[in-house]
Symmetry: C2
């Protein structure tokens, strides 16, 4: 039997990359934010690397420094993925869609239409919205977390039920007999919950994978429960192997409590990459593009280490006194890694350029370092795979695909070819049409 | 100065065409309902004919005979148009989006994303939903017409305001200076009405036409008022020149009352086509494909003419007694044309095959007949153009493009080339960004 292999997704965000200054790189079209050519190009690059899915985060608002940095998200995830679906063949397409401010019927319709268009490659990252700024775009106040998750449970069940409301074998389309559909297999769902309701049916036949695959993102007890019931994939965030392993185990246990096989839920940790010939070259790339943000980050790093760091002294390493007096914040798992880097003697600027206060572990340097990191986490049982966020899509996807992927393949850790055509196949997710009968009310 | 020329749109519906049996035609892929290849192909055919826009109706439900006929609408209009946008260059893309069951922020985002993707070719047919079956898909009862139109007015204003909330010159994207945006030109809208509200801003820069163009469909006094204020195009329905001229004049007067130039609103009448070498050939095509529906239609035609028509005698012309005793229903403008056809001596089957009880005037026969019809209506001041619904997309678009378009061009009634690249240009609609200042509250 073949050894277990990791599954890799790629973050597809604003068209530039995870570095705030990615849009300024000489190789980058500064209009990539509105360029669907650019997004298709990045998706195709990921597909050349046989990556199993693209992941599009979303959150219809922007909190940031727009004068200097682009918005974080796609103009619209469904419109973007429709373009990508037509211009790729195998890679899965996972879009975030909020259960808080969308109608279930509209979610069901758009995701299943995309699934049909992509020939069974679509996933729905079903999340709850947070932030009063998002709620305000819908003229509302943010509901309580309990209400948001209650609505999410109802919405996911209703959407999946609508997906199954056009019977699996309903569509006959037999020109000779004139029978278009087995109408008796296209039935209303008539579901009504506390928060959402719909009559249905939804008039969309099954895709090649039946219906979209569910993802979830988040680490709260509520997220754990929702993902355990419904998700085939979890978009995770973890800074250490221990943290990832604990999270993965919790999601697996939650799936088991819901009556599922724990292998049905895959945990993906985030990984940010600057692949370069050397660590020095990688650090310089990051400094050139996003060094402007380091002054502010220096004081944040100081808080994390319990030190007063002087943003005016970015070119000096931390002093022996500072290193000795550092008290890494126990509440921030990044602080241990940050102190480790600082102790290697890098200047404050270089320490920051390592991405020590970023949202995920950051690899800066040769491809083999990323491969080593991924292998270590994977073999420790901490993850089923990763979702990778390159510093700059324009060349960072290629750097990952041409540098890291072949190493993982040579080590037997990653497949060499797509051996199936649907996202459900790529994930090893079980067949499902409509709601999971084990979970039906 | 160039003579006024007509504007032509093409209906892009379920992938088959306006004949209920279109899906059974030998040339048709019976899976066109789920085939985006088919929809792209039909759109490209319309673009070869230099048509100014595609029109996608929508109404998230289906009332019909699914055993024998496909659903009427696209799987999802936005997903479909995203594919079409990437694979066409000039033709406008007009999608129907309900103001009744959609969040304004979501509408604003998807339509403007599509407008950016299509480089300024998008139009929004902003309608109110009707039918309890649609409302039930959203777990609601249908609001009163007054409430639906009040919400529509608020929604259109809010959506247009959100479109303008990213200032026209806000996006600098200057790599050298590092200035991404003039953040002070990206402002919240903070609009709050009785039915909808949003804070904004929407983070999408202008398209090549600034923002999508508004369309409306409907003939009620409420529709007249909404279209008069906001619409650049009206998707109309009229059976006679007089009816069309009256409607067009009413929309123009409504625009004038709203402070606009009446030429800013274009009225498009529907036209259904079966283009064939002869009328006989066209009738046979329609009978072969949709003759099954004629039994039911015979009794409907009987009601329309005040006659008892025997569905068992489809192969006989109406008798002299029947023709003499016919009393065409004064409430149904189709009845005059139906009686005229019946008096020509066609069999009952052939009368029905003329499409006399269809939703729009139907041309069955040589291309020149369609061209004559269009010229007559256009020169009578009854329309600014048409939206054409071919019997079968797979060859009916080509038949129109290769047959009717060259005649109209030779007569100087239709342009020979796109002389602009945006829908706003194709329609001659004035520049607008954000809400029309003449209408601002």
């Amino acid at each position: 039997m073949a050894a277990r292999q990791m599954i890799i997704g790629m973050h597809l965000g604003n068209g530039y990359g995870n570095l705030p200054g990615a849009w300024r790189a000489p190789s980058v079209d500064p209009q990539s934010y509105t360029s669907f050519d650019a997004k298709v190009r990045h998706a195709q690059a990921a597909e050349r690397g046989k990556l199993q899915f693209l992941f599009l985060p979303d959150g219809p608002t922007h909190v940031g420094d727009l004068a200097n940095e682009p918005p974080h998200f796609n103009l619209d995830v469904m419109v973007t993925l429709a373009a990508v679906a037509r211009e790729t063949k195998r890679i899965g397409l996972v879009a975030t869609g909020s259960t808080t401010f969308n109608e279930p019927f509209n979610l069901a319709r758009q995701f299943k239409a995309l699934d049909v268009m992509s020939h069974g490659r679509t996933g729905w990252n079903a999340v709850t919205s947070s932030g009063e700024d998002v709620a305000a775009n819908y003229g509302r106040r943010l509901p309580s977390s309990a209400d948001r998750y209650a609505r999410a449970h109802e919405t996911v069940q209703l959407v999946q039920t609508l997906w199954g409301s056009w019977g699996k074998d309903a569509w006959v389309h037999d020109q000779a007999s004139g029978r278009f559909a087995n109408a008796e297999q296209v039935a209303p769902v008539n579901m009504s919950g506390k928060f959402v309701a719909s009559r249905g049916p939804l008039y969309i036949p099954p895709s090649e994978q039946g219906q979209p695959v569910l993802f979830h993102a988040g680490g709260s007890p509520n997220a754990l429960e929702l993902a355990g019931r419904f998700a085939s994939g979890v978009i995770g965030a973890a800074f250490t192997i221990d943290d990832a392993r604990t999270q993965r185990a919790a999601f697996r246990a939650s799936a088991e409590r819901a009556g599922r096989n724990p292998d049905e839920i895959k945990f993906f940790a985030g990984l940010m990459t600057t692949i370069a010939n050397s660590r020095r070259e990688g650090l310089d790339r990051r400094i050139t593009l996003s060094g402007r943000t380091f002054t502010q980050r220096a004081s944040y790093l100081g808080q994390m280490l319990g030190l007063r760091l002087d943003p005016a002294r970015l070119d000096e390493p931390l002093s022996p006194e500072q290193l000795a007096g550092a008290r890494p914040s126990p509440g921030d798992p990044r602080s241990v890694q940050a102190l480790k880097i600082a102790r290697e003697g890098w200047t404050l600027r270089d320490v920051l350029a390592h991405g020590v206060i970023d949202y995920h572990p950051v690899i800066v340097g040769p491809a083999v370092h990323a491969a080593d990191h991924m292998q270590e986490w994977f073999e420790a049982g901490a993850v089923d795979g990763f979702w990778v966020s390159p510093d700059i899509y324009e060349d960072g996807v290629d750097a990952f695909v041409e540098g890291v992927v072949p190493i993982l393949q040579a080590r037997g850790l990653f497949h060499r070819e797509y051996d199936g055509a649907t996202l459900r196949h790529h994930l090893g997710a079980p067949t499902q049409y409509g709601i999971d009968p084990r979970l039906a009310l």
